[in-house]
C-alpha cells in the first residue's frame, strides 16, 4: 500500500466517521464537530490529489478553505448559542418546529 492510497483511506475514514456522527449523534455541538471532520476528510483528499499531480494550486486552495471554514464556524456557534438560550437544550430534535 503506497502513501497515496493510505492517505486517501484516511480521508475516507475521516469522512465516514464524520458522516456517521452527524447521522447518529443528537448533540448539536458534536454534530458540528463531525461536520468539521467530514470537511477535513475532503480537504485531505484534495491535498493528496494535489500532491499527486504536482500542482501548487491545490495546497493553496486548502488554506482558503480553512479560512472560510473558520468564518463559517464562527457564525454557526453563535446560532447554536442562541438556539440553546431559547430552548435550554442541545438536542437537535427539539428544534423541529417547522416540520410539515
Amino acid at each position: 500500500m503506497d502513501k497515496v492510497q493510505f492517505l486517501l483511506l484516511v480521508a475516507v475514514a475521516l469522512f465516514a466517521v464524520g458522516l456517521a456522527g452527524v447521522i447518529i449523534r443528537r448533540n448539536l455541538l458534536v454534530m458540528l464537530m463531525c461536520m468539521e471532520l467530514m470537511m477535513n476528510g475532503v480537504n485531505l483528499s484534495l491535498v493528496t490529489f494535489a500532491q499527486q499531480t504536482g500542482t501548487a494550486a491545490g495546497a493553496v486552495l486548502v488554506f482558503l478553505i480553512f479560512v472560510v471554514a473558520a468564518a463559517e464556524i464562527a457564525i454557526a456557534i453563535p446560532i447554536v448559542l442562541l438556539l440553546v438560550r431559547r430552548k435550554h437544550t442541545l438536542e437537535a430534535d427539539a428544534f423541529g418546529d417547522l416540520k410539515g
Binding site: 447521522i23 443528537r26 437537535a92 428544534f95 423541529g96 416540520k99 410539515g100
Partner: protein, 630 residues
Amino acid sequence: MTHLLTLIVVLPLAGAVLNGLFATRLAAAPFGRTFVTVVGCGLPIVSFALAVRGFLEIAATGGPLVEVAYTWAQIGERSFEIGFYLDRLSAVMALIVTGVGSVIHIYSIGYMHDDKSYARFFAYLNLFLFFMLSLVLGRSLLVLFVGWEGVGLASYLLIGFWFDDPANAAAGKKAFITNRIGDAGFLLGMFLLYWAFGTLDMDKINAAFTSGPAPVVSASLAGILLFIGASGKSAQIPLHVWLPDAMAGPTPVSALIHAATMVTAGVYLVARMSGLYLQAPEASMVVAVIGAATAFFAATIAVAQSDIKKVLAYSTVSQLGFMFVALGVGAYGVGIFHVYTHAFFKACLFLGAGSVIHALAGEQDIRKMGGLAKKIPVTFWTFAIATAAIAGIPPLAGFWSKDEILWNAFASSAGGSPVLWAVMAATALMTAFYMFRLLWLVFLTPSRMEPKVEHHVHESPLSMTGVLMILAALSAVGGLVALPHFLEPLLPLAKTPETLHHYEVPLLIFSVAIALAGLAGAWFVYGGGTERSARLAARFAALHRLLYNKYFVDEAYERCIGRPLVWLSDRVFLNLGDRVLLDGSLNGLARLAQRTAGVLSRVQTGNLHLYALFVLAGGIAVLAWSFRHG
C-alpha cells in the same frame, strides 16, 4: 382668423376644464360664484360670436371652411384627422347650438342659483357644448362619433346631476345604455363606409355616392345602420324610452340637451349624409315610417300625461318624428328647418316649465297647478307664444316648418303619400290639442294648488324671464327665415310632381284648420275646468290607462328583454360560467396543489438526522449511478 373653427369648439372645453377642476375650491372662494358665471356663460357667448363670424364668412364666399386641427393617426397612406368643416348646414347647426346654448346658460344662472353644485353644473353644460360642437363641426364621421359619444356622456352626467336620488341615477343609466344600442348600429355603419371608401370624411362619402361609379356598398344597408344610431340619439321607436326619463335632470338641461340640441343630432346626421340617403330609397322609407310612427305614438302618449316635463318630453319625441318624416321623404332642408324652429319654441317651453316649477317650489304635476296666468304673467305669455308656435298657428315659427313637412309628406316624389300625410296631420292635430291642454291646465283653469304652495308663487328673476322673452320672440318670427332655400345648394329640395301643386294651398289652409281645431278641442275639454276631462277619462278608462302608462313599453321591455337577460346572466353566465367553470377549475387546481403539498410535506419531519440520512442516500445513489454509467 386661421383657427376659427377650432376656437369655436375648444372654448367651451376650456370653460368645462376651468369650472370642473376648481369646482369645489370655487364654491368656497368669495368671488367663486361670479367667476363660475363669467367663465361658464362668457365662453359659450364668445363661441356664438365666432360662429356668427364663420357663418357670415361662408355666406359671403359660399365655399365651406375646412380646418385640420390635429392628425390623430397616420396608418400607411391613410390618416385620421381631427378636422372641422363649416358649410351652410353645419353653420346653421352651430348657430343653433351656441345661440340656444348661450341663452340657456344665462337662464341657468337664475335657475341653479341656490344649488350647491353650481360650478359642477356649468362645467357639465360647457362640456356638453364642446362635444356637441365637435359633433356638428366634425368633418369625418370619426370626429362626429367622438362628439356623439361625448354628448351622451354629458347627457348622462346631467340627467344624474342630482345623483343623491337613485331614480335620477337610474334614468341617467337608462339613457346611456339605450344609446349604446343605437351606437352599435352607428359603428357598424361607419365600418361599412370605411371599408367601402377608405375615408370617413362625410363630404367625400357624399360625393362618392352622388357622383362617380356605383359604390361597392349597399347604400340602404349603410343608411339603415346609421339610422339605428340616429334613432337612439333622437329617441325614435323602439329606442325612445330613455328621453322621457331623462327629464329627471335640471330643467335647463332638459331644454338644452333633451329638446333643442342633442336629440336633434340624429336628424343632423341623416341630413349630413343626405348624399347617401338619396341613393337609398329603402333606408329613406324606414326613416319616414319610423318617424311617422314615433310622431303618432308619442303624441297620443303626451295627451294623457300629467307631469309637465313628461308632456314636453313626449312632445319632443313626437316633433323629432316629424323631422325624420321630412328626412325620409327627401326634404332634408325642411327637416333642418324644423330642427331650427323646434329649438326655439321647445327651449322656450321647457324653460317656461322650469320657471313654473321654480315658482311652485318644485311641483311638476299639472293636476296640482292652474290659475298661474295672473301670478306669473311673463312666463304665461312666453309659454303661450311657444305653445301656439309648436301647435302650428300662423305666422309663428312652428307653422312654417310643420306645414312644409306636411306638404312634403304628401307630395314628395321620394316617398310622399296621402297616407303618410294623414298620419302626420292627425299627429299635428294631437300636438295642438295636448299643448293647449297643457296651457289651460297650468295657467288658465281655476287653481288646484295647495294653499302652502300658492302662498309664495313668484315670478322668476330677470335672467330667466329675459331669456324666455328672447326665445318667445324667436319662436314668433324665427319661421320667417327661408332656411330650406338657404340650404338648397347643399341639400336639394324634394321633388314634387307638377300634378299635385294645386293641392298646396288647400293643404296649407287645412293645416291651419288642424291647429285651430286642436286649440278649440283643448278649450272645449279644459276650458271649463277639469270636470269634463275627468268624465272623458272615466268613459275611456282602458284607453286612458294605456296612454297614461305609455303603452306599457317599459314594462314590455322589462319582461321581454330585461328579465331574460337577467335570467341568462344569473343562471348561465354567473352560475354555470363563472362559478362552476371558471371558479371551479381554478379552485380545483388550488385543491390539487394543496393535496400534493399535504402528501409531500410528510417528508419534512423536522428530524435533522433523517435529512442527513437522505443526503447520504442521495450521495450513494449519485455515486452508484455515475459508476454504472461510467
